[in-house]
Subunit: 358 residues, 2 copies
Amino acid sequence: MNKIWILGAGQLGAMLKHAAQPLNIEVRPVETDETATFDIAANDIISVEREHWPVTPATEQLTQHSSFLNGPALAELADRASQKKLLDRLGLATAPWVDVKQGHSAEQLFAELGERVLLKQRSGGYDGKGQHWLKLSGSAEQRAIPQDWLDHCIAEQAIAFDEEVSLIGMRHANGDTAFYPLAINQHHEGILLATVSPVASKASLQGQAENMLGKLMDSLDYVGVMTMECFQVGDKLLINEIAPRVHNSGHWTQAGSSLSQFEAHIRAVADLPLVQPLVKTQSVMLNLIGVEYNQQWLSVPGVEVFWYGKEVRAGRKVGHINISIAERSQLLASLAQLEPLMTPVYADAIAWLIKHLD
Amino acid sequence: MNKIWILGAGQLGAMLKHAAQPLNIEVRPVETDETATFDIAANDIISVEREHWPVTPATEQLTQHSSFLNGPALAELADRASQKKLLDRLGLATAPWVDVKQGHSAEQLFAELGERVLLKQRSGGYDGKGQHWLKLSGSAEQRAIPQDWLDHCIAEQAIAFDEEVSLIGMRHANGDTAFYPLAINQHHEGILLATVSPVASKASLQGQAENMLGKLMDSLDYVGVMTMECFQVGDKLLINEIAPRVHNSGHWTQAGSSLSQFEAHIRAVADLPLVQPLVKTQSVMLNLIGVEYNQQWLSVPGVEVFWYGKEVRAGRKVGHINISIAERSQLLASLAQLEPLMTPVYADAIAWLIKHLD
Ligand SMILES: Nc1ncnc2c1ncn2[C@@H]1O[C@H](COP(=O)(O)OP(=O)(O)OP(=O)(O)O)[C@@H](O)[C@H]1O
Ligand SMILES: Nc1ncnc2c1ncn2[C@@H]1O[C@H](COP(=O)(O)OP(=O)(O)OP(=O)(O)O)[C@@H](O)[C@H]1O
Ligand SMILES: [Mg+2]
Ligand SMILES: [Mg+2]
Ligand SMILES: [Mg+2]
Ligand SMILES: [Mg+2]
């Protein structure tokens, strides 16, 4: 293998490249708007850091190449409707849903799914964008399907979940799989804000989760890392959505595991040995969203900062902080020292993290 | 600060660059034989990954620049004679020694230092090269100082040490310091083969070690990471030698600390906040010396491989394996799984590692 090309050059691509360097493997993230003609060697490998991409000369070169991995799987998962249909076919539990077509009305959706219905655009949405809530007892806007969304969205029953969790797994070409422990995730305004993993109280759900994601990866003959975001309702998991890539809720693995999700993906696509990732200690991650860099974060013991070098804009993922501190009193002291160095929304996130520590 | 230039582009430079990437800091390791004229910005910083370098256009550009850090300290430490004189002046214990001048004889050295005397070239030696043993009851070669070594070497009393340990510390421009726990080191044919850190039984020496290295760094107004290699004789430490840089015996920090020695050096030279590194768990490192890459190492849980991409030659450092596994039975199982995947010399190293686990 010469090198690994990654469609997309955001922070996930950068972290894939970073994780591959100790293995002396070259990774080339590609911006979708690049105009070059890429010299892709026969034994190169092409993967992705994103599930949606514009059709451009760059993405066409990569995705049409014979070395592009998981093409059909990526296509099937990229459209929420075909994704939900696949999950239904496999008997994997998800939120009850309807494929919203021309002629559908909000009233029909309320009748089928209940008083609160979440419309999700079939493709392109992320960070909670591309969502539209329908509420039977809501405003006029919440009692009508946006006209241009017909044929372009799905409708889901609102799930009153106890918790949002995610499972990240890896599958190699020979079918072998391995999984990280479940992570619990807190979102803020539709964007992941904080993660804790592992969580002892979720261990009883691990088997169920691995069966679900394993079945999905096998059915797609998928090679690489895949993420399954779930709602926990009592002792049942409902799949929210699938990301066929490394995921924000797995960044903790850089500090808290012997194998980061990024290295795991590289190993899978490069057909290197699979190994069960070990956990060093219960780990937390705080997502840096739309905040300016604060050098003082570096003064907190155990804080491991990843700053993406992106222009800071509201609602934009600009970095993350991993903390994997084995000793409880040190972890609490570090979180207490970190809190005043961050904006107020993180105080809630830190309180939530502390509540979920084993 | 624009970027950090590093004199030398070996694996230490590469790992400094790797560690700086999550901080979004650019590091430019420079091969000593580069012919370019470097565009060094006024607020760039220049540091080193090696203590000896040839005089070349590249090294002259870097070392003459006003942003070159620790120049006088590096010069004083690079020559073993001036290094030993400095340690003597500071009252820091080292092996009894003599500066070997024209006219010195082996007999004089035996009289001054005892029956076994180790000659060490004043500059350029590493991995045990540049050493010549003198033994009163040895061969003819061992009872004579090589002619061309006069004025160019020091002579040390052979120390019957219990253990070889090293301390790696960091000092910032404001004088603040922090230290890793002592590491114990096993050498093979003059080259570091294995490291364990922390080691509970060495905790009683930590204060003594920190006082010694702290005093040295303060006296030199040194900024960055510095390594102090010592002999342990009972409850006393004798300094063997100083490396004014990140060091092989500190690679374990990549897997076993919240702050790797590489990031620590970057923070110090870039005047970012200093922080006390935390230890995740007792860690071990195996140095890969002159061995071919074995992909099967990746199949062992907890094995974290750094492969430098250098041509494999006997006695050459080509990579390292870090292992930071919290759970003892898993650590032992992984070491047992790793052993047959390595050459016989590593069986002894692994046995030695296991003997020194807490
Ligand atoms: N059926 C549902 N019922 C209740 N809440 C939901 C439902 N579906 C999604 N949500 C909420 O909206 C959030 C975002 O949904 P989803 O993950 O589908 O969106 P996304 O825009 O694709 O996000 P991502 O950035 O993860 O790709 C979920 O994390 C959850 O909090
Ligand atoms: N005075 C001494 N008495 C006994 N053994 C010694 C003495 N000095 C050095 N040694 C042995 O030789 C080894 C190498 O010595 P030293 O570290 O000075 O050499 P080096 O070539 O500079 O090594 P490095 O690669 O660490 O720079 C030591 O680790 C130790 O095992
Ligand atoms: Mg999504
Ligand atoms: Mg989501
Ligand atoms: Mg040396
Ligand atoms: Mg040495």
